[in-house]
């Protein structure tokens, strides 16, 4: 009998009686009340072994070709990456997981529930993950593979630490779960987060919230003009990954493009860029009719709402662009999906000072140094922008998300001082 099982018999585990008979559907893991919230150390052998095996399974499955976001998740949890992350995780402190983490996963990005779970596990925690009502195929694909793995004896410990559940949005259930967890990871729009935070938790529960975020792209006209075809191809391919892989739904997908340069250079660069982008898109599957209609009506609506806007329509339903001479401070309210962009020319990036607030998350750059943007954030005391990365890297996940060190926040330090 394993050590932790003996401990259970000796009555050390928190009883989960108040979880029995909760009307939830369990997609992964055993019954809700048998979850074992005894924490492990961060990057435990058990967690790494489970996740790396899941990675192999997912990468080998044909589904990862249909859904590149599954491949992206699987690629991130592969053994080599976890080993690297584990090594660079600060080691001066003694750490252990917090216990039980409740995750409320978002509706807009299908695989985020899986990343959220991975963070929880890697930090040493047991996890109850609530999946939204939206039916993403990726969700059942990943859950199915997890269930296959969790039947193995090797993963028995981890199996006791994972519960993926579904229930129609009900504050009473969320409330019961919120009272027994040691941390919550909350995803959603501003309204959802506000609602979830209003639900009481235990006094020492830690909340990590991922609310509405907005992201932009900054490109230098000169850099585009001088770029050779190979560089342009890499650029549009990277831009495609940032935007079109998830239909511009990820919070790090850019919705606004700020062009640096004088008006003539910018016009030339824009033509060069968008022509290349359109050619690239032509090699990819076309958007569905619904998406195209949605985008067009959004364009018209936005053009009416924003005075002084000059709208520029692409003929082939690929990309919709709205050019503004000046950005209103609340530009982040006007975002669209499936390839809708607002553009402006701004030679010294001073518009950042007008528009950036806590909503702003990622800035992707081409021909503009990331450091310059970072310096601006610090020097001007901007309350937003958590990441500045090259175009193509918007969706790359590290363990620092929205300024939170995930593994650090989800584990606790046992201090010797």
């Amino acid at each position: 009998m394993e050590g932790w099982q003996k401990q259970k018999l000796e009555g050390v585990v928190i009883p989960m009686k108040n979880l029995s008979n909760l009307p939830v559907e369990v997609l992964v893991g055993g019954e809700l009340e048998t979850v074992d919230s005894t924490p492990l150390r961060p990057y435990s052998g058990e967690a790494v072994s489970f996740l790396s095996e899941l990675s192999t399974l997912l990468l080998k499955s044909p589904a990862s070709r249909t859904y590149p976001d599954i491949a992206g998740f699987a690629y991130w949890i592969r053994k080599a990456n976890l080993a690297r992350l584990s090594r660079s995780f600060e080691s001066e402190n003694f750490r252990v997981g917090r216990g039980l983490v409740l995750h409320i996963a978002p509706g807009n990005v299908a695989v985020n529930f899986a990343f959220s779970l991975a963070f929880g596990l890697l930090a040493g925690n047991a996890n109850i993950v609530r999946i939204p009502d939206v039916n993403h195929p990726q969700t059942s694909i990943i859950c199915d593979q997890m269930n296959v793995l969790l039947k193995k004896d090797l993963h028995r410990r981890i199996a006791s630490m994972i519960r993926i559940i579904k229930y129609p949005r009900q504050d009473e259930i969320t409330s019961k779960l919120s009272k027994i967890c040691h941390a919550r990871i909350l995803w959603g729009g501003d309204a959802t987060i506000t609602n979830l935070r209003a639900i009481q938790t235990s006094p020492r529960c830690v909340d990590i919230c991922f609310a509405d975020r907005y992201s932009i792209c900054v490109m230098s006209a000169d850099a585009i003009i001088m770029a050779n075809p190979q560089v342009i191809n890499t650029l549009v391919s990277g831009f495609y990954n940032d935007v079109f892989l998830l239909d511009q739904n990820a919070c790090s997908s850019p919705h606004l493009i700020i062009w640096r340069g004088d008006s003539k250079s910018v016009l030339f660069a824009q033509n060069k860029f968008w022509q290349a982008m359109k050619a690239f898109l032509d090699t990819k599957p076309p958007p569905s009719v619904i998406q195209a209609v949605d985008k067009y009506s959004h364009l018209c609506k936005t053009a009416i709402l924003l005075s002084g806007s000059k709208s520029n329509l692409e003929q082939a339903n690929g990309i919709y662009r709205l050019t503004l001479e000046e950005l209103p401070h609340n530009i982040s309210q006007y975002r669209g999906q499936y390839g809708f962009f607002i553009e402006t020319t701004d030679n010294d990036l001073s518009s950042l000072e007008t528009i950036v607030d806590e909503r702003y998350q990622t800035v992707t750059c081409f021909g503009v140094e990331s450091q310059e943007v970072i310096d601006k954030v610090i020097e001007k005391g901007l309350t937003g922008i958590d990441r500045v990365v090259p175009v193509g890297k918007a969706l790359d996940i590290g363990v620092i998300w929205d300024g939170f060190d995930m593994i650090g926040s989800l584990s606790r330090i046992i201090s010797k001082n």
């Binding site: 192999t56 590149p68 699987a74 690629y75 592969r78 080599a80 080993a83």
Partner: protein
């Protein structure tokens, strides 16, 4: 299985190609070697040879032939 065999096996398994297709194979030459296929290949090679590849090497790994050169950096020699 020698290193060269293991190396070829990763390509064959991930891309459903035959031995004769390997020598001239390059990234994006075939539908299976797209960015998703590339991720699968890299993960498979890392696992097989128990190495962790640098992001620059992952990006530069553009062909079956050149890949051998890259793996040499990780002390994996083809024999």
């Amino acid at each position: 299985m020698g290193n060269l065999e293991k190396y070829k096996q990763q390509f064959k398994e991930n891309f459903m190609v035959e031995e004769e297709d390997l020598p001239n194979l390059k990234y994006q030459d075939i539908p299976n070697w797209d960015s998703v296929g590339h991720m699968a290949l890299m993960a498979g090679l890392e696992d097989t040879f128990e190495i962790e590849m640098d992001i620059d090497d992952i990006i530069d790994f553009a062909s079956f032939e050149f890949g051998k050169t890259i793996l040499e950096k990780y002390s994996i020699t083809m024999e």
